[in-house]
Symmetry: C2
Subunit: 396 residues, 2 copies
Amino acid sequence: MYLVDALHLRILRLLRDEGAVSRAELGDRLELTRPRLLAEVERLITAGLIAEAGMAASRGGRRSTLVEIHPRLRFAAVDLGASSIDIEVVNGRLEPVATYREAADIRSGPKVILQRVNELLAKARIDGAYERLDAVGIGVPGPVSFRDGVPVSPPIMPGWDRYPVRELLAREHSCPAVVDNDVNIMAIGERHGGVAHSVDDFLFVKIGTGIGCGIHLAGTVFRGVDGCAGDIGHIQVDANGPVCSCGNAGCLEALFSGAALARDALAAARAGESPALAERLAGRLAGGEELTARDVAEGAAEGDVTCIRLIREGGRRVGGVLATLVSFANPSMIVIGGGLAQLGHVLLAEIRSVVYRRSLPLATGNLPVVLSELGGRAGVTGAAVLASDMAFEQAS
Amino acid sequence: MYLVDALHLRILRLLRDEGAVSRAELGDRLELTRPRLLAEVERLITAGLIAEAGMAASRGGRRSTLVEIHPRLRFAAVDLGASSIDIEVVNGRLEPVATYREAADIRSGPKVILQRVNELLAKARIDGAYERLDAVGIGVPGPVSFRDGVPVSPPIMPGWDRYPVRELLAREHSCPAVVDNDVNIMAIGERHGGVAHSVDDFLFVKIGTGIGCGIHLAGTVFRGVDGCAGDIGHIQVDANGPVCSCGNAGCLEALFSGAALARDALAAARAGESPALAERLAGRLAGGEELTARDVAEGAAEGDVTCIRLIREGGRRVGGVLATLVSFANPSMIVIGGGLAQLGHVLLAEIRSVVYRRSLPLATGNLPVVLSELGGRAGVTGAAVLASDMAFEQAS
């Protein structure tokens, strides 16, 4: 059983990730005897999961026919943020065939949000993106019981606690569904098609509205006993720091996150500490008296010392926590993503400096700290990977 | 291949951990068809790994014969500390048949220490503990490349860097050998025969001469990319703290560890802040002007406020780091071991208090923080488990 399962998964993943491959090459790559491989390929063709794709170039002997992931396969990938819905419908190679992005407040509750997700997916079907879905993958901004397919005590998602997200999506679309935390799917996406490609042990740190960490260990996402592993935004970094949305004082994300940076930028502009920020604030229309991470990034690029200081202080906070996590987990890469990744080099340089200075030399001897490559697409990419894995596993 | 390997391992581990079992029960427990099981059992008997052990009690039908791990099997388990050598020779059920413990300075270097290990094992053979060893497992107090079987840049082990420990032990004893970090083997031991029995995700925190953490995730030890995962003793907890042996300031183990506690106890005794410690110091013979963790534990038991304060401050430091690690890894248990575990309830209560207050409620809702059950035997127990696993894996 194990052996057969592992084999069909290995074939499907290889075709998903690399495209059409000849039977001969497939046998070589997976180190299978020819009869074994041919039998399994026939089985997958019969199951409608892979298809013939013409003849391969000659390797000297008889020409081998190409096989590919079946062109009919479709997966839906959904990334729910605190204030956005991102959807991609992808084919079996995880290439997008339809993309939707719109603003939505996660606090509207599961009924409203999931109904909108279903409406967008219905629109995709009408637009011809698919006839039927083979699996749906969805990421949500909070802890998830991966086993049960439900959010668990998610702090910023009122009404979602233990809401049967997986069950409802699976029923609506008559296919397997899988639910995970938003940062976990970003990590999976970055490993599939981004800077962490084929890296087994890495941390994906999302710095956005809040802060979270996707933990990829030994080739798989580590979710923890209650599904809240990586929830590093509420680590206390300053007992005398500002009160956090969680009620504790001095949490990492109360000191540095999209919301914290906007707050600090506004204070600096009003206190006359930053010409760049004051100018931007004055330029806002009445009633829109807000500054964002983008303003700080632009100010820093212009050389505004306060903007640079705000980013450096944030980087130092994040770096301090990451130094601890590096000593603990000894990963081989750290990827920084989320909205505040736009702060770019200044942020990265400060994080690196603290991590390299404060972790064990052995653990940082060869530790890249890099920006996410996929940016805003990391989440949907990971959701598509999860959905296809689920479909492949259940297809046996 | 995979399937066969997994099967023989499952049978051997079950017999190692539970003793004699009938073929019928073995088939039920491993959910195997009778022909499949009988073939594998015959193979393992032929290989000299298991043996017949009489008839089982009747289950109603034909009586089934018992099989057990072969009574001839012997594993050597070695736990090298900063200042001690612990050795057990165990049988196939991991029961000790010979035990040695003596003082030894790890800084004497690998030649001296490993020669002494071999002398003690030779003595065990002469004493009749074994005829030949089936595997040797050894733990060392520093980072280890598990794959290469060598220590890697171990801070307190001069001369040991990349010394071929595994190769030399394997050659000397003509059997497989396995090398791991001392805290990892303690975690493995505690999971095999202690308080973490069959717990898949837990942290084993050793507070002794230094501080380290064994990370048990998804049923296996996580060692990190360079073998230094869990090296939490050098996490900076106070930038203004005392200088650590590693050269940085304010590392966790510079603030709380066997050495740090001895230093703080001596200072308190001399400053007249602790009657209990001053009395103990006065009772020491000339030249032996030292206090130890035991003195502090005794003082605390007598109600000496300074002793209690020293333990609480230490617990607060450790708890602060563990709160971060709990938010990150979301484990299902924390086990406290090592020499300072003798500080007992006062230490544990303070660690618990900080962890419960500062980690996410979801992650601590059901998180026991408990003392090691095996104490000084955790290391050799884990080394024996590793050695037997290695022998079983290579026996196929």
